[in-house]
Symmetry: C2
Subunit: 390 residues, 2 copies
């Protein structure tokens, strides 16, 4: 009676969203302070006040029927220009406002680009572990997600990538800083990836799709841009994490002007946005994009959390990589069974996401984008379940 695929997708909710909903319900039952919710990547650092003030200023100063009206489908030109300028500075590639498409966040960017480039049966390489929704967007567009192993530090394994490439490989999707591992790919790593993809693009380009919502959240050097190292690159971005606007749905998709058929690709992007029901990104937030680009979230807020949690967990005996960016720790599940361990943790009011749906078994993801006090109060429980569970 209904579309079977959609019904399955609606009923098999994402593990992250399921745990997040459980946490909300559990907090209502036993009190906010008694649940340690590390399930979702919803930033706890406040929105920068400059961004917040810009939103108020726009509401006060721009006539409402101008401010709130339709923008062009690709977005306000002022927003697209500001994005192009900012990307040019980061990458050294002269980006064009005409190839920037404003979107309702990174998920919209992903759904749109997959719909724009994939034909039935096309393959998209994705390093493991990966954000579970990637599979949803790729398969809805008729494509196939091909998981590719990473090295022991969750960085790129070029041999594995080379082996995975087939004549059907249409794109590779990367995410640095990475959710869920916190890995940040170095310039050298991206240069080598670019060389490999160029070598393998003889029969038509393999597009490099770079999902960068955590771009600004690094604890060492700034994240390198794949734009600098490979022409057939499309950047997917969201202001969700960098300006704490996850629920407002504002982001973009930017095609490198050096990409094969860049303008044709952009036309296909416009068609895909239209077919998926996106009229434009929310106008108020589009107007504020130049201000967002000048704002920055409090990276120290997340660094403090990372240092506290990483230090404490490794002291207790947990095994994990020190996150180089983003706001996740990817920790080996004691005993090796991530589902069993996270269920055990859940029974102790500690909400951790098992790694199975990320395409890698045996880990849990801990989102440390929470108030520091939540981490502090949770540590005795982390200690208790480490030793008690096995």
């Amino acid at each position: 009676m209904f579309n079977r695929e959609m019904l399955t997708l609606g009923r098999q909710r994402s593990v992250i969203r399921e745990l997040f909903s459980y946490g909300k319900q559990r907090k209502a039952e036993i009190g906010e302070e008694n649940v340690f919710d590390f399930s979702i990547g919803a930033p706890a650092a406040p929105t920068p006040s400059s961004a917040q003030e810009e939103l108020v200023r726009l509401l006060r100063e721009v006539p409402s029927e101008t401010l709130h009206t339709y923008t062009q489908a690709a977005g306000l030109f002022s927003a697209r220009e500001a994005v192009a300028k900012s990307l040019s500075t980061q990458s050294g590639v002269p980006m064009s406002a005409n190839l920037v498409y404003m979107t309702c966040g990174a998920s919209a960017s992903l759904a749109i680009v997959m719909t724009a480039i994939l034909e039935k049966g096309d393959e998209v390489l994705v390093p493991c572990p990966y954000f579970p929704e990637y599979e949803v967007f790729i398969s809805r567009a008729g494509g196939k997600l091909v998981p590719v192993a990473t090295n022991s530090a969750f960085h790129l394994d070029l041999d594995a990538i080379e082996r995975a490439i087939t004549p059907k490989t249409r794109a590779m999707l990367i995410n640095s800083p990475n959710n869920p591992t916190g890995a940040v790919y170095s310039a050298e790593e991206l240069r080598a990836l670019g060389q490999l993809l160029r070598k393998k693009s003889k029969e038509g380009p393999i597009f490099l799709l770079s999902d960068e919502p955590y771009r600004e959240l690094t604890y060492g050097a700034p994240a390198a841009s794949p734009l600098s190292f490979y022409d057939d690159t499309v950047v997917l971005y969201s202001f969700s994490k960098s300006v704490t606007l996850a629920g407002e749905r504002i982001g973009y998709l930017a095609v490198s002007p050096r990409a094969n058929g860049a303008e044709t690709l952009f036309d296909a992007v416009c068609g895909a946005g239209r077919s998926l029901g996106y009229i434009c990104a929310p106008a108020l937030f589009q107007y504020a994009v130049p201000a967002f680009l000048k704002s920055s979230t409090d990276v120290e807020f997340y660094r403090t959390n990372r240092d506290l949690l990483y230090g404490a967990l490794t002291d207790m005996g947990y095994a994990c990589c020190p996150a180089e960016g983003a706001f996740y720790l990817f920790v080996k599940a004691p005993g090796g069974d991530a589902v069993r361990f996270s269920e055990y943790a859940k029974a102790h009011e500690l909400l951790l996401v098992p790694s199975d749906s990320f395409g890698t078994k045996g880990y849990v993801r801990i989102s440390y984008c929470v108030p520091k006090s939540v981490i502090e109060k949770s540590l005795p429980t982390f200690r208790e379940i480490f030793s008690a569970s096995f």
Copy 2:
């Protein structure tokens, strides 16, 4: 190299959007006051100040990391409850917040519901003329738009509907008040439609999808709700027109609790929203939904425009129905060729949308949601092209 269907869709831009873009460019060239742009349905009445003030209050008073964070995929429960209550009052049907899904506007509602219910080859009946994007959403979901004739006043023709129903008919999509004709279906009309659909639903329900962005914009009696007359109804709504928020992308989809498999349908809706990349509707605007429901746009603003334009055009000899609602006049093209007439009008800086892409030939759509002064200044040109062109 790219998805062919998306490329075609991106290149064949909507006639409305194309004309709207042309208008913006033309205004820049010869001055705002010298172009009479009746192309797009972007409201010119200001956003009600109560709605505007609520947005500022939320930004000032709610902690930013709470205000701007992810909501549940289906939306904030407070918004869903307010919508359910408002629909219950209008329709007399006890609607449930659990069956309300907040969306990024009516186009998102349409794309989502089509994706949720259609399987390949399913048919959707749509009375002519119809909003051109309906075809995009139905065909992307694998379905087929089946145009159905209306009567001479653009109201429902039950015989034509009955003849068009086949075993593949999965849904009927209606839009009252109507874009582009301004027709508003009466309670009696909707009751008769309900009876027919019930009679024809023997082999599984035919869903009635009611696209209602113009619900509050009527110049006579309030618009009747199909919910009151047919159980298998899904309401699609947007606050774009009623609160002048077209660019902000806030609306909803509501399933009647009396529909066959209502909860299953809602699960499929959740799956469809997820697969199309919608994480949630913009959070700030969701918080303001209870205030939006209490606000109302200035219907008199549009009534004044309608009376002025309808009176003047019919005096000049143009033939059209007096719009009962929405903010469009659907006018017979002098000479009979809508494309030729609209091109001629365009050469005189008057932007009217030819009806061909609405599934009906020989008319132009005039969007009178513009400042009154635009109508006043345009009248000499309307007069000139009526007599001069043929």
